[in-house]
Each structure stands twice: as structure tokens, then as C-alpha cells.
Symmetry: C2
Subunit: 447 residues, 2 copies
């Protein structure tokens, strides 16, 4: 490796999510030039993203500027830029027409939604990966109640007050529970013409159980708890079409105006530029040491990697813990070889499952920690504790905690803002003025 | 007034700002059907909008859903809809193709920016009236530092690190002070290639003093305090052009990438549909009882009204207190005539100036309360106290207070998110790699 740029070797990290940040932190204080690139200026604490989408938290509560997170680390520079591709042979990455050399590379660019080849569903069924996704879903959710309030036809009102969530993993379960909770507890007093408590939330899951990543009894517990709070859970229900009118599952058609997509993920397309084998979801199939085949200086961490754990040969799951452990592993390998002054034998990556959890509603969750399977309030307290503990900084922690406390005490949700362009077609007359409407004058009714 | 819709007369309120909400609250519990229309679902506490624009607070901290504010008031319905026009003769308002009848009408639709006939300046110099404006300004502000960090040319970097604020009223003063504070105290440690402390903030004011609505000594105090923290104040400086390269003031051209418009306001165009005299800013010139000439049942409150106070014959200023007092006055007149069962002699509207204040930076403000003129920390504490006290709900108060406490302790600002689409053209090489760049290969440089 020729060092053109002075004495320090360079580690380029692509992506400021859990994997990228973890890798950068391991390299703190070492004689290496770390360059972290991300197209956004902020790291997002993804496990709480659904709380932004459901108006419980503000975007800033779960995000932090990447350069602020790493500001104390003098050997690390953060660049806000989009990486277009990687040239393994020449050891450069392509950044919008310019090239950046690397000695080591850590690819942690993550994943986005996949509509399984039905890209046209996206406009009707937004997914939840970024803060912009979350505020878009929040807008649609709040607008649904607004439009139902003015809706003249009973049929249309029913469709506006029906929500479909597609996908029964943690995001789907959490969104379904939170939407039902908003409708039943947070907002009923705000409306005059509709009873938001009658809102239908239908959760469609293609498999025969919820939460496939959890033990079977917890999936069953989640289903029971969701049904207890009024969510309709449909197992073995593969969605075959989504359009402006509703959702189709085989022969069944559900008229619904609001669909949330929580079903599939697709790795960042950056992987395609490498010319190495990808799995069905576009993830890079990595070596046991998380490197790209044929490139021992290029690591992949997080949702962009199809990695196998040396512990039990299982696939490393696409969760925050997986990304953090992979990022840290890559950083440690680099640190060790820097210290040794050259290549060393590498122990394969092992994933340590610290547990999984998903919330279902106020004071209800499921958690799997080792051989313990926990449900209800205890699981929820554990969930809250762990999620606050892992938030990036103290300010986020304080803000999230005080928002939650407020919500627990009042059932109110603070961030109920419809921002951006919002167009509602007001169907006048309002329902309670129908007496007047019946008098005739269909074209231009008076209220 | 024929009552077509059952027994209750109807009051329609257009706008959920300070004026509209105040009017609605006065009508609580009265035998009247109140309909409040706003094109947004939320009320914004405008005096703190500049803090969202400068990343100190989140949008949800200073906003509340209008229907939530009025949820306890059973005689009031809130409709999210845009009002297109008013037909005074037929007593109806036009809501996107439908018509809504009124017995009484309160117009409180507010104002937006005015570029004094130079609409083309808007793209380079956004104004600050809505939450979307605030997050757009926040984005530009944060992107300016990001792009300066990567900028290869010293000249370009200087322009990226120069901010021009146009307008020396409270918004201009507060924005200028806050931008300087961010640059000098909140973010220096986050950057490697630039010293954000060298950021220039230039405040252009067309008049010969700052804060024309305040006493002369406070305008002078604001100027001194701004200069103390490093803001360049240019009095008698009328901006004659703004484009992508910078700001022109007469013969002088300042290369600047970031301009914030805080100079002029223009009333909501709704006033034009009335066919009554408007003032130069498009405001409706109202009678002493705030009604539209020739329409004793139509009131105007807030920034849409050009109103004169009976107390001293002065124009009522376009501030929150003015809107609140006007809205409350209109509500009380209606309440009194409802009680009396018909028209009554009306006492003309009198504006009670409770004082004015503007912040300059951390722990610095100016305040004018009756004959007391206060500056520095005391004024700032007073400002903080009053603004928190007037925030809409308890949750907003807690959130704003804790954000401020955090900021005072750490100089950090929590909401430093660049959201929405952001494109930075990264100029490689990074400044500290220039050694390598000089080697040639101008077309496709390596870092």
C-alpha cells in the first residue's frame, strides 16, 4: 500500500448508522486517518423510529449529528456525501464524480424497503427507514383522522378510519399497536363527528406467526396482546395488491386509505458495484471475517452484509446489535493489524444475541433475553430502560424520557404535527349538517 | 339573519393563530356554533420560531394541534381547510369549491413575507413564518457549515461562512445573534478543516436604528450587544439585490451563500376578496370596532388587520399581543350581542401594550415594559419566563425549558438535523489534502 497522503493509513467508513459509528469509535486514538461518509448529517436511533411515525417523539429526540457524535475523536473526519460505487481493484470509492482512496474500507450503508418487485405499491404504502419516512407516515396518519372528520359518506369514512400494516416483524407489531393506541386513547376528545375509538387496525403477516425472529410463544403472546387492545391480526395473509382504494389479500379486498409497509428490506444498491455475489436481498455475502471475497481490506457491517456467525452458523439478524457488533469487529481487526504492522490470522466473527424485544402498546411488550421469555409490563419496562440507555446522548435520553412520562400520564402524544404540503379535500357538508344538505342544491352546498 | 341550520347562530373563525384561538376561547360555553378553519392542523407559537430555525428547539416544542387546544370546548369544531374568499353580501366563505355560511365571521388569517416586489429573492433568502420555513432555514444553515468544511477554494469557503440577515426588527436581531452563537459556541469542535468561530454574520437594516418598535435606547443597546458577540450591524443599508452569489447594498456587493429574510410582511391575500380598502401591506383597514367597513358582523384580528387603537390613535403592532387582544375583543363583542339578543353600541378597540422584548444571544436580551427599559441578563430572564408562561400547554413548557437548560449548560443545540432532500457538491480534495491535489490530475482527483 503506497502512502501518498503522508504517514497515516486511511480507513474509509461508508455509513453513519450503528455499524459505521461503532467501527469509527473502536479506531479512536489510533495512528490512522478515519474518514466517515454519509449522505445525511445525522445518525438515527432506528429502534425508536416508529415512535416518530406515531407522533410520540420528535425527529431530534432520536437523532444526533454524526460529526457531533465523533467530535471528540481527532483522527476522524465526517463528510456529508453520497458514495456511488467502489472500485476494489484500484482501492478507491466514487463520491459524486470524485474519487477517495482507502487503505481499509468498511461498508455499512444499510438497507431500505423492498416491495418484492411491486415498486408501484410504495406511493400507497410508505415504509419506515429514515426520519423523512417517519414524518411522512405521521402526516398520513394524522390526515386520515382529519379527512374522516369531514367525510360525508359512511363508506369513505370507514375506509379513512381503517389502517393496514403489512408485515408482522417488530416494526409491524409496534406500528399496529401504536396506531390503535393513538386512535383509542390519545385523540378521541379532539374530534366531534367521528369516534376515533372505532378505528380498525389490521396487521397482515405472510407467515403463520408474528415476530418470526422471536421464540414461538412470544409471537403468540404478541398476537394475543395486540388482539386484546383491538388490533386485527391476520396470519398467513400474503398481500397480493395495494392501490389507492385498498389492500388485496388473495380473494379478499379491504377498503383502506392508509397502508404502512413493514414487510421487506433490500440492501443498499452500493453492493452491486463490487462485482461480488449478493444474496436475494442484495446483501454482500461476506467471508467469516466479514470481508468481501478477494478483498481482505474491505469489511461489510450491518444490513448490507449477509454474514454467518461462527458461533452457530446462523445468519446474523438485521438488527442494531448485529450492526454494532460487526462494526466493532471490523474496527478491532484493523486496530490489531495496525499494531502488528501487517496481516494477522483473524478469528471469524461471532454474533452474541443479547436478546430481542418489541413493544405492543402502553405498558405491554415482549422480550426474549437468553432463555427468558417475558411479556407484559415487565417486558415493557425492560424495553424502555434498554432503549433509553442506548440512545446516543444524554440530551436525547432526557427528552425521550420526559416525553414518555408525559404520554404515560396523559395518553397524549406531543408531536402531532402535519408538516409539509398537505391537501385535504373537504367534503361538505359536515356530517352533522346533513339535514341541510338533503334540502337539495347538490352542486354547491351550503353548510 | 335567517337560521337555516337549527337553533344556534354560527361564528366562523378563519385562522388558528393567536387571534383565532383567542376569539374561539372567549366563545366557550356560549349558545353559538363555532367553526374554526385553518389550512394547517397546528397552532404555532411564532415568537419562538427562530429557535427552531436555529436548531435550539424541535417543531413540536412550539406547536400544538389546534383541535387539541380547543378539544374541551364542545361548541367548537375545527376544520383543516383553506379558505379562498369571502362573499360579504351573501354571508358565505369559499372553502375549496364549497361554501360555508356564517352569522358572524372573524378573519384572523395572518401574514406572510413580502419581498417588496422582488419575488425572485425568495429562493436565495427564505423568510420565517411557518414551521416549514423554520426547518428549511435550519437545513440551509447547517448545510452551509458542511459545505464550507469540504470547500477547496478559500474564497468559496469564506462565502459559505458568511450569513446575511436582512431586516433589523426582532426576528432579524434574534436570528443574527443565534447564528453567531451557533457558529462560535455550539459547533466549533465538530469540524476539522474550518474554524466556525470565524463565521461572519452581517445584519442589514434599512432604517437608521435596530428594533424600530422599541424605544431608541434599546435599539442602540441591541446594536451594541450584537456587535459585542461579533455580529456586524449595518444601519441605513437598504438591500438592492439578492442572487445566488450574494447581497448588493447600493454600490457594495457582499459575497454570501446564506441570506435570511426578516424584512417585510404582506397580509394574507384573503383580504383582497372582500372588495374593501386595504393598506400598502394588504391589510384590511378596519373600523374602530375591528369590523370590515359595511359589515358589522365581520371582524378582523391580528396581522390581517390595519387597526387603530382608541387609546392613542396609534396603529396596533403586528405582534402576538396585538392579535390576542383583537381576537378576544371580537369574541367579547359577539358574546355581548348574543346575550343582549341583538346589536348593541360597541366601545372601540383599545390596544394595551404589555411590553416588547427581543433576545440577542445566550443571556442577553432587551425588554421594554411600560417605562422600564431593560437589557442584558435581567431582560433575558424576563424574556424566558414570559415566553415559557405563554406556551400553549404544559408539555411544550417542560420540553422548551429542558432544551434551554441543556443549551445553557453545554452550549450545544439539540435539533441539528438536516432533513429533506439535501445535495452538497463535495469539492475534493479536502483542504488538508491539497498537497496531493497539486500533483496534477485536475479532472478526477484522488483524495
Amino acid at each position: 500500500m503506497a502512502k501518498l497522503n503522508g504517514p497515516l493509513p486511511r480507513v474509509v467508513i461508508v455509513g453513519g448508522g450503528f455499524g459505521g459509528i461503532a467501527a469509527a469509535k473502536v479506531l479512536a486514538g489510533l495512528p490512522v486517518d478515519v474518514l466517515l461518509l454519509d449522505q445525511r448529517n445525522h445518525h438515527v436511533f432506528q429502534p425508536l423510529l416508529y415512535q416518530v411515525a406515531t407522533a410520540a417523539l420528535s425527529p431530534a429526540d432520536i437523532a444526533s449529528p454524526i460529526r457531533h457524535i465523533l467530535s471528540g475523536q481527532r483522527n476522524c473526519r465526517v463528510v456529508m456525501a453520497r458514495v456511488e460505487g467502489v472500485d476494489l481493484a484500484r482501492r478507491v470509492i466514487d463520491v459524486g464524480g470524485a474519487e477517495v482512496e482507502y487503505d481499509w474500507l468498511i461498508l455499512a450503508a444499510g438497507a431500505t424497503h423492498s416491495y418484492f418487485g411491486n415498486r408501484q405499491w410504495e406511493q400507497f404504502a410508505p415504509g419506515l427507514k429514515t426520519l423523512e419516512d417517519a414524518t411522512e407516515i405521521r402526516k398520513r396518519l394524522l390526515l386520515a383522522f382529519e379527512s374522516a372528520e369531514y367525510e360525508g359518506s359512511e363508506e369513505e369514512r370507514r375506509a379513512a378510519l381503517t389502517f393496514a400494516v403489512v408485515g408482522g416483524g417488530p416494526t409491524g407489531v409496534e406500528m399496529a399497536g401504536a396506531i390503535k393506541e393513538i386512535a383509542a386513547h390519545s385523540i378521541p376528545a379532539d374530534f366531534r363527528n367521528i369516534d376515533t375509538g372505532t378505528t380498525r387496525v389490521v396487521l397482515f403477516q405472510g407467515a403463520d406467526r408474528l415476530l418470526p425472529g422471536f421464540a414461538a410463544d412470544l409471537g403468540e403472546r404478541a398476537r394475543r396482546d395486540l388482539e386484546k387492545i383491538g388490533v386485527e391480526v391476520r396470519l398467513n395473509a400474503k398481500v397480493t395488491d395495494i392501490d389507492a382504494r385498498g389492500v388485496t389479500v388473495g380473494d379478499e379486498f379491504l377498503p383502506v386509505r392508509n397502508v404502512i409497509w413493514a414487510a421487506g428490506v433490500q440492501a443498499n444498491p452500493l453492493g452491486r458495484s463490487l462485482g461480488v455475489p449478493l444474496d436475494r436481498s442484495g446483501r454482500i455475502v461476506v467471508n467469516p471475517d466479514l470481508t468481501v471475497p478477494g478483498a481482505p481490506n474491505v469489511f461489510v457491517a450491518g444490513d448490507l452484509a449477509a454474514a454467518t456467525s461462527a458461533k452457530d452458523g446462523s445468519l446474523v439478524p438485521g438488527v442494531a446489535q448485529g450492526a454494532i457488533q460487526m462494526g466493532r469487529y471490523a474496527g478491532k481487526v484493523i486496530a490489531a493489524e495496525l499494531k502488528a504492522g501487517g496481516a494477522r490470522p483473524r478469528r471469524p466473527f461471532s454474533y452474541h444475541d443479547k436478546g430481542s424485544m418489541a413493544t405492543i402498546g402502553k405498558g405491554r411488550a415482549v422480550a426474549e433475553v437468553g432463555r427468558y421469555h417475558i411479556g407484559g409490563l415487565v417486558a415493557w419496562l425492560l424495553w424502555a430502560l434498554i432503549h433509553v440507555a442506548f440512545l446516543v446522548n444524554f440530551r436525547n435520553k432526557v427528552s425521550v424520557l420526559s416525553n414518555w412520562a408525559w404520554q404515560l400520564l396523559t395518553s397524549s402524544r406531543g408531536a402531532r404535527l402535519i408538516t409539509g404540503v398537505a391537501v385535504i379535500s373537504v367534503k361538505l357538508p359536515l356530517p352533522d349538517d346533513r339535514v341541510h344538505a338533503r334540502a337539495g342544491d347538490e352542486a354547491r352546498r351550503s353548510l
